[in-house]
């Protein structure tokens, strides 16, 4: 009876378009909001995740780069190096600062790196070079876009004019963007003196080494790479997750309501025809099937349109809005597809109840 469902839907193209549009809008909203959430979650810490570190060692009480400060004496590096299980230690110097350009203020996370060895070097380059010297800076694409900087421009930071030598990507942390300077420059900009912010520890056995460092230096906070990454993502997961949940629910209700309304009106309008089907031997189950198939057609078509739209919107928005970082996995798409089918089932429920009440004897009324 699939063809009957299809024909019934196609008989009123405007209603079909509305129905598909309802699901598409809902899918678009879910995919974009979900994609943003996923995008922030995965891309927010891409730079930190790319660093060669099995353990992050910070000052006691420090947990992430956004909400806490960590200052450690640089000399501690040699001591940590001696802890059993430690195969290498690098210093990490970096902190959030404010920069202004043309009257606008921007947050940057300045990181010092070693252009020669590549230690703590920026994520993939988009333009220019990461082989910089003192007085030069590599900025993130999102910051370049937002603040209007290009290669060769001078960025005023802490009284210095740093020349943009390269533009990197994967350094957009939503609240701030990463910028990379030489280790000499970062010490001056952040006025670190004999201090560093963290130590990045390499080890083959993170759990044992962590315990060993923690035991030897109880005043330090030793975190696994995963923990440090998770701590940095908390700003998104804790603040945005409840909001996203509400938006998901609204999108789902809107989608189900629009499909439900259009399928319901189509069912009411075709009550007599459903009565005919009943009269000539159609069971209620068969009629439900027709309505559910109609709903599924609208749901699946709406999902496909919504999917295409979300891809387009993501592509366009990413060009103009620096924080518009979306990531949609195959699993996410499958979940939204299942949601669209759930919308369809929900949408078919009320019309199906209406079908059960249709009296087949009405077909004898002229």
């Amino acid at each position: 009876m699939f063809f009957l469902a299809r024909k019934n839907l196609l008989a009123d193209r405007t209603r079909l378009a509305l129905s598909i549009g309802g699901v598409a809008f809902s899918v678009l909203l879910i995919l974009i909001v979900g994609g943003l959430y996923r995008g922030w979650q995965t891309k927010l810490t891409m730079y930190l995740d790319s660093l060669q570190a099995d353990l992050w060692v910070g000052q006691a009480g420090s947990a992430d780069t956004s909400h806490s400060m960590s200052f450690l004496p640089a000399t501690l590096k040699a001591d940590i190096q001696q802890v059993p299980g430690v195969s290498g230690v690098d210093a990490f110097m970096g902190r959030q600062i404010m920069v202004s350009n043309k009257g606008k203020e921007f947050r940057l996370f300045i990181v010092g790196f070693d252009p020669t060895s590549g230690r703590n070097s920026p994520a993939p380059m988009v333009k220019g070079t990461s082989a910089i010297i003192d007085g030069q800076i590599v900025i993130d694409k999102a910051f370049a876009q937002k603040a209007g900087y290009k290669l060769g421009d001078l960025v005023p930071i802490a009284g210095q004019q740093l020349s943009v030598a390269g533009i990197a990507t994967n350094g957009n942390s939503l609240i701030y963007q990463y910028a990379y300077v030489t280790e000499n420059d970062v010490k001056q900009i952040l006025q670190l003196g004999p201090l560093v912010n963290y130590f990045l520890v390499r080890t083959d056995n993170p759990a044992a080494t962590r315990a060993a460092i923690q035991q030897q230096y109880p005043d330090l906070n030793v975190m696994t790479k995963q923990e440090f990454s998770t701590n940095n993502k908390k700003v998104v997961t804790e603040v945005f997750l409840p909001i996203i949940g509400v938006l998901f629910a609204i999108a789902f209700i809107i989608g189900a309501a629009i499909v439900g309304l259009t399928i319901y009106t189509a069912t009411v309008e075709k009550s007599r025809e459903y009565g005919v089907l009943k009269a000539i031997g159609g069971s209620n189950r068969l009629l439900y099937r027709v309505v559910i198939e109609q709903s599924f057609i609208a749901g699946i078509a709406g999902f496909l349109v919504g999917l295409a739209l979300s891809y387009l919107v993501g592509l366009i928005a990413n060009r103009f809005v620096s924080g518009f970082i979306t990531a949609v996995s195959g699993r996410d798409m499958l979940s939204v597809f299942i949601l669209a089918l759930l919308m369809s089932i929900l949408a078919a429920w009320i019309p199906a109840r209406r079908l059960a009440a249709i009296d087949p004897a009405l077909v004898f009324k002229a």
């Binding site: 009876m1 063809f3 009957l4 024909k7 019934n8 196609l10 008989a11 007599r272 025809e273 005919v276 089907l277 009943k278 009269a279 000539i280 031997g281 159609g282 069971s283 068969l286 087949p360 004897a361 077909v363 004898f364 002229a366």
Partner: protein, 241 residues
């Protein structure tokens, strides 16, 4: 065995002071190949009798036996199968599904029985050819004339080879020629295929093809006469000559 046995059937709508007795102890047997015309004034209970005979309405009392099975004892879930397999319905206003073509409308009862789409369409086409609408297979109902619509509706009623066809005012919306053609189709059903036909109508022309004419007034069967079938049915012309 009779195709239909209606025994002492009564139907009351409403209750108490507002109760209306639509049928009162009506009995009617319809043999195989019979054509029964049910006549009577509006509101006499003709259509109520037809809907009860078609398993679309439960009688307040009495029994309705189709093909040896008392359908008044069947549940709402069992009745659709009886209607689909044993009964064919022809309506005054054709009741074709607007979104479906002529051949799809006819194939519908087969599809309901689970016949695959292509097979159902293959079975529907020769029937429409036989009924003279073979050139309108892919036309939608709004593209068909009244006569063509009724032929398509008759094809739909016949496609599952029912033993009993129930027709409600089948010629009311047709002109004289189309009305005559439809009456001939009913004769063919009964005389060539051995189907039983019950026609509810005000159209006295149908008397000519009916084998029996019964009259209902105030819910009671008041008269039964012999119709003009034997003298007017073209199926018997050869035998008469």
């Amino acid at each position: 065995m009779d195709a239909l046995r209606v025994h002492n059937v009564s139907k009351t709508f409403g209750s108490g002071h507002t109760a209306v007795n639509a049928l009162a102890k009506v009995s009617l047997n319809v043999a195989k190949g019979d054509i029964v015309l049910v006549m009577g004034p509006s509101g006499s209970g003709k259509t109520t009798l037809l809907t009860i005979a078609g398993g679309l309405l439960k009688p307040s009392s009495g029994t309705v036996v189709i093909g040896g099975q008392d359908i008044t004892k069947l549940t709402e879930h069992q009745l659709p199968a009886i209607r689909l397999q044993s009964l064919g319905f022809v309506f005054q206003s054709f009741n074709l599904l607007a979104a479906l073509t002529a051949e799809q409308n006819v194939a519908l009862p087969l599809l309901m029985r689970g016949v695959p789409n292509l097979t159902a369409l293959k079975q529907a086409r020769p029937l429409l050819q036989r009924l003279g609408v073979g050139q309108r297979l892919t036309s939608l109902p709004y593209q068909l004339s009244g006569g063509e619509k009724q032929r398509v509706a008759i094809a739909r009623a016949l496609v599952n080879s029912p033993s009993l066809v129930l027709a409600d005012e089948p010629t009311a919306n047709l002109d004289s020629n189309n009305g005559h053609a439809v009456m001939q189709l009913f004769c063919e059903m009964a005389c060539q295929e051995g189907r039983s036909v019950i026609i509810v109508s005000h159209d006295s022309r149908i008397r000519d093809i009916a084998k029996r004419v019964i009259t209902i007034e105030d819910g009671r069967l008041v008269r039964e006469e012999t119709g003009g079938h034997d003298t007017h049915c073209q199926m018997h012309d050869a035998a008469r000559q």
